[in-house]
Subunit: 117 residues, 6 copies
């Protein structure tokens, strides 16, 4: 996570690994993968809000890959930096200083995503 | 958590215990308590979204007291049952079946909160 | 968790709460509930092994309700006390002393389940 | 956790459940129980510091029973309320607001332990 | 974790670091290390089942190093890919989508272990 | 984490990322950052004890960056290797074998910090 290419690399590695998963997955696993997509589809809540929920849940559970994934989605949904900061702030308060290394990396990823505009 | 009074009891116990905390708290603890309030104040994101973030973070970290607290706030912000279900659904997908007992209790609390309308 | 009726009470409360969930659940939630059943169906691994996996996963994530549920299933699958002790022992080593209060309650539930034979 | 007897009740329940565990425990489990005692014996660090470490570890992992246990030990080691508040404060900062319900109950237990002086 | 050598590298790094640990370890730490081995010895449950329990516990607690270690042991015990997929599926359902990055890496490691046959 | 420079690299990366955070931080986030410093200031408990508490809390929550940070602080406070081993031992017992990969890396960092004397 040390250079400007990391979102691209993340995407490529994720795709390559997903291929390996799907080659080995059974029905339970495949259905979960589908559900994981459906849960973020717009409904009573807009997709942007759902992606924010996924982002903050990933932050407090401290999964960098999941945070990166939801940041990409949030960027695509037009989230502003001010909104992002406030959402990460809720995660920081709920989850404590143990989330700080992940917040640092989240902002680095965000800067990269903004730079790609 | 077995009768119609539980939200009221939760509120009373929470207040009584907060009194004990504040009697013993030092500056670090008091400042954290204040920050915890400020993090949910409306800003770039509306309060309703922030309370939803707090709710789903509490769900995936599996804290019933925190879930109950944010449900009370979400109800006050006018959250609909459909919105609640979708938000809990994101928490369920991110956090897995280990969140189910908390989702069960969350809906029970929600029914009680709706019944108080 | 203080008397001989607790498994029965657990079952009744679980059913009552599941009714509330299903009344409010959307498609994502209902599908997850189904997947949660399918994941433990016998396949390459027998159901007993899968229930043991669910039990130990629940123990290290420290969810008493989930532990109780899987103990009931393990009893139905004919798990012996020696097998249970060894499985909880793996959870204890992986998850540490923080799992001990849950192991205490697990054995109490197990004694009750054996007493019902 | 609603009356002045709870530390006593905690002790009694803990002993009764430990009896059930030891009846079922194998060598791995018994050895872990012994190690759990040895880890807090005075050495390069005094017992009081080790109990504080156990307390804060239990707080951030959010186990009320473990917190109560270490509070009893800390009281026996002569911990002051000011020291306790600062230690819980470190746990609060590291672990976030999700620890607050446990901090509330910890102070309630502490008040009871002090009342027993 | 980006090339075909990673299991070998994992083994070497693990050994080198274990040497550093053992140089500094006290009796508590050494005894825990021994217990960690004993917990997976065959008994009422076969070693394969115990390694599977360790694998799924490691997955839901989301420790890649621990997952890799138990995958190596599971391979040595003759676990089939179908059995592995079902076991990881239980972990996925219990622990949710937050386990997915670890499942991706687990299958990649598994492919490498199979390729070494 | 594979060469003798890693503490230096950790410090540089941490500073660079902190700059990005502070550029984006709002008042809640900045205040939390300040509180995080205040919580470890000497008071009723000496700074060394508070850093040890932060270390063990970070270990059981399994955050390598946080562990490295507190090891640097503990070294500056004059912690001995024997004290470190006992503190990590409490974390190991509370948190289980899932902490072992972090303990391995902690000792490696510690060796490096000692080598810099």
């Amino acid at each position: 996570m040390t250079d400007g290419k990391r979102v691209d690399e993340f995407r490529k590695e994720r795709e390559a690994l997903n291929d390996i998963v799907l080659k080995n997955a059974d029905l339970v696993m495949k259905r979960f993968w589908n559900l994981d997509t459906q849960a973020y589809a717009p409904g009573a809540l807009p997709r942007k809000t759902k992606e924010l929920l996924g982002l903050v849940a990933s932050l407090v559970l401290r999964c960098d890959d999941c945070v990166t994934y939801h940041l990409i989605q949030c960027k695509a949904e037009g989230l502003s930096t001010e909104e992002l900061t406030e959402a990460l702030g809720v995660g920081l308060i709920v989850g404590g200083s143990i989330t700080i290394p992940h917040i640092r990396r989240a902002f680095k990823t965000w800067e990269e995503l903004k730079g790609a505009d």
